[in-house]
Amino acid sequence: MPDRPDGVALLELARGQLLEELLPELPEGKRLGARLVANAMAIAARELKAGDRPGRAELAALATLYGEAAGKDGPRDPVERVSEAIQRLSWRLASEIRGGKLDGNPEVYDLLRFGTESRLRLTNPKAVGEDDPEQG
């Protein structure tokens, strides 16, 4: 448990100060740059807040597709990290899709939609119809 205020709180405060106090003082030519900074901070804050949940959910979906026991409890092998297991199964999925083994497969389609929606929740929640507290 990090000391408080934690990273998420600090990023949100910093972002608020950037947008509300600093940005209006910037010359017009620098405002787009400041908005990019604010956007990067929002993504980082959402990522921190979500922690390893999106990764574990993605792994669980991949493991279900491939009948691996790992599922919700993490990677199949205790030394394999979640991100490594996702990479390993994603390579397999990517290569099977390319090879024509999964043409139009509804289960795969749902998994891909789910994965993309979960990445969008971090980068652009509005794209999946969610309110975005970071943009408030």
Partner: protein
Amino acid sequence: MSPTFAAERLAELRPRLAAFLAESAGAKHARLDAITPITEGAIQENWLTEITFDGGAFDGLQVLVLRSDAPTGVAASHSRAREFALLRAAWDADVTVPEPLWLCEDEAVIGKPFFVMRRVEGVARGYEVVKDTGLGGDRAALAGRLGEELAKIHRIMPPRAELDFLELPEPDPARHAVTLYRKYLDAMGEPCPGLEWGLRWCELHAPPPGEITLVHQDFRSGNYMVDARGLVAVLDWEFCAWGDPMSDLGWFCAKCWRYSRPDLEAGGIAPREPFYRAYEQASGRKVDPDAVAFWEVMAHLRWAVVARQQGARTLAGGQPSLDLALTGRIYPPELEYEALKMTPPARWRAA
């Protein structure tokens, strides 16, 4: 922003640049009154120059644009020499472009190749053009004009000696694109099952190969310039290739280039109808809606691959750039999501 023409180098460059300009313009002398960066694009840099020529056809004060390469390039972008040749071909085909004037491939002049073209004035930023209906004049007329411009581009057919740097025409451009984007994905070394889904759909549903013409490959809102009355210039010629003319219509209409007006399917500025009608009239070629729909799926995949490449450039020890990093992080999932929505299982023909 870190201009690669460091200010201190300018003093050193001015005399050589002025001498090149004078010789190119057939003037006795040229004085470089001002040189300032306009934009620092991902791929090239543009500099606004004010030059006073003494004698020759350009006698007097001229405001010209100097265009050079950015420090690092994206795969599939042409060097300035090639872009100059493309701009010249477009100019000769009566496409509305800034007149290309002189090319300098001698790196002794400013340290890298560049070309000089006339300045055009207006607004190009896609979100602004789409949102501000005070720009570009009547929107249906603007869409029609763009259809005509595209028809003129598509009148340029292979073979063309001055464009011999373009890869030989592929008989099947759609399947060739699938192969190419897979190669780009492989080179980045990250698994992308969502994009693979889209590419496999494209492989199975590619339109039958047809006529091959020059294709602009980045003809969209954001890459043409307008003023209050209408079109001023078609820009960004660096991705040109021989290909399926319908691919440019699909790129122009793709949802990812409609900005704040997804309901206006021709580039966020108008319905498809005036754009298609003007294109058909000017080109004598029927618009194939199925082929355009196919190329709209491909447009999302292609832009997703390019956005990933741009993001990768900030990771691979290239220029650190928040802009590129955000491009590589934000756009791919949005584009992939759209491509998935266009290719649900019901839209797969039985293989």
